[in-house]
Subunit: 392 residues, 2 copies
Amino acid sequence: MKDFVHCVPTRFVFGRGAELKAGEQIRDFGGTKALILYGGGSAVRSGLLERVQKALSDAGVEYVCLGGVQPNPRDTLVYRGIELARREGVDFILAVGGGSVIDTGKAVAHGVCYDGDFWDLWCGKAKSRAALPVGVVLTMSAAGSESSNSCVITREATKTKRGLRSELNRPRFAIMNPELPMTLPPYQIASGATDILAHIMERYFTCETEVDLTDRLCEGAMTAVIRAARIAVKHPDCYDAQAQLMWASTIAHNDTLGVGRVQDFGSHQIEHELSALYDVAHGAGLAVVFPAWMRYHMHRNVARFAQFAVRVYGCEMNFERPEETALRGIEAHEAFLREIGMPLTLKELGARSEDIPALAAGTKKTNPDGTTGGVFHMTAQDIEAILRLADR
Amino acid sequence: MKDFVHCVPTRFVFGRGAELKAGEQIRDFGGTKALILYGGGSAVRSGLLERVQKALSDAGVEYVCLGGVQPNPRDTLVYRGIELARREGVDFILAVGGGSVIDTGKAVAHGVCYDGDFWDLWCGKAKSRAALPVGVVLTMSAAGSESSNSCVITREATKTKRGLRSELNRPRFAIMNPELPMTLPPYQIASGATDILAHIMERYFTCETEVDLTDRLCEGAMTAVIRAARIAVKHPDCYDAQAQLMWASTIAHNDTLGVGRVQDFGSHQIEHELSALYDVAHGAGLAVVFPAWMRYHMHRNVARFAQFAVRVYGCEMNFERPEETALRGIEAHEAFLREIGMPLTLKELGARSEDIPALAAGTKKTNPDGTTGGVFHMTAQDIEAILRLADR
């Protein structure tokens, strides 16, 4: 295992009706006036926003509201949030939604405490030193932003999607009621499950061998997520399936399953370009990118891809031709994604073949040598080849 | 999944030489003068204590030291620690050791902030409302006290062993250098691994069915611990085996693997009586109690004990006679414990048959109806029967 520092101070309040505790949680963390952020109308229509507002009032916490957060959240709303938060003197951000709302909340929290343009912090021009406290009422099991240190925002004018990793990004509390995602369309539940799996897989496909403990934890979580996703997509009102997806979304991305490992996140970087350009659901984009990424890289560590096939999808090990086993695992993963209604090709996402070079060139370079990906380093040519595999 | 609140704010600093960061960690959490607690002479002889002291001095943190913590830590040293901490005006407790030292540190931390006799808090006479901050330099992978909410102390005069669960018990930081346990005798490494497994098993053997995610996480962790323990007992200098045991000790008992489940902890209560009376290593006591507890209870949930056998020990499932499979799993577990040098009988612990009724009567009653155990409720008669199974 590699050296690491790991700290997830987020308090998880999990269970039916947990959103009614939002006010007392904010009070507990010293908040007196909150900016409630939310997305589209569903939080209003379902009565969730009203329940949360009442919870705050009951606890004596003042609030102002800002709705309209879109998937692949934009800088434009972040600027409005910062302005509103400053004008109203709020001391706490409450995100009521999924990853997009939470990430908007995190960006506002940094922005309020930063004198310049908040995008400076996202494009690496400046380092954030403070942020308002953030709390979450989670409505979708997917991004894991409810306790992760990451936050991804899209610059609308340039369609640039960038993430900021910072320990300041960890929310103070996450209220998790598995009943809330029951009203989501199956496609969104499936996209969320795909995102959860991708977060685990980014940590799982490594070149290290002596990481048996985290391997086993990742495999166990993936096996359970696949099972729960199959159930939740067909029976969204199954509490236990939703509960498992919700808790899995959290541990998949707060590094509980990833400590001590080199992690990749190359697929995520490729997908960020896709969803920035075509505004597709992040999970759906990952459903297209990840299997192509696996096919492209499997030969660089056949044993690991075969291990995935055997332990997660129950494939039989072909000791003479392990690459066959590895391939069976990728096929099984694709079949699962198809089964839950996910796209597998660029065309299904509405992406154009002629955009591939620009997508490859635009993908963020995460390594000093200009390549992307922590484990399997990729040049723009590699990324182009991966996207061509998905261009069916 | 059951409703839960879960929060592990501990900062884990993991890797070679991590103890050199003890001073800066204390400073980070506002400490200016620490009470360094440690156990026997090994921390002195190995030079660890000196390295830690230098780390504190380099960071400008003052300190006083108190050594002599014994396994199954006693109230007597807790009283001395409280008195010393008050006299010297320390504002931080640094435990350099394993579970016994950490638990002593936690008890001192409560005791300093409580006006009466600290044992009031352990025997339920009063509720703790504050504790000094505690940091840890971990030297043994076992108890998981480095981030758990529990703390177990033995009242020397009455040989009463009692635990206090409190969120105040979570250390601020845990410094985890997997090189430190390399100098332990194999018996202690094995005892530690047994304790880790027991912490997972207390969470695993439940009567719920819809806990697939946490089941899979528990199974993955157990599989990895069994493998790492086999290596570490034979090759204590294997960094990766020690690293996996160390991280497993933490997640086994900070509830990462246990959220949303009814947990048992009946075996732990029985063992507390054993180690209070005979002063045996906690892990060794669990090696004797747990298999007997499994044999006694397996008929109450054969499917789960069979699942354990199949998924953790690779036993073949006998669908016609699942109780055969369950039994094979218990035998495999006993064989593993024997392989790493653990005792399996009361005799090997030095326990006497004639003490069994008193041990059963003395075991803490954890349920309002006077029974013990969260999942499989046990009367004193049940406990006596379990101990008789181990009396070979």
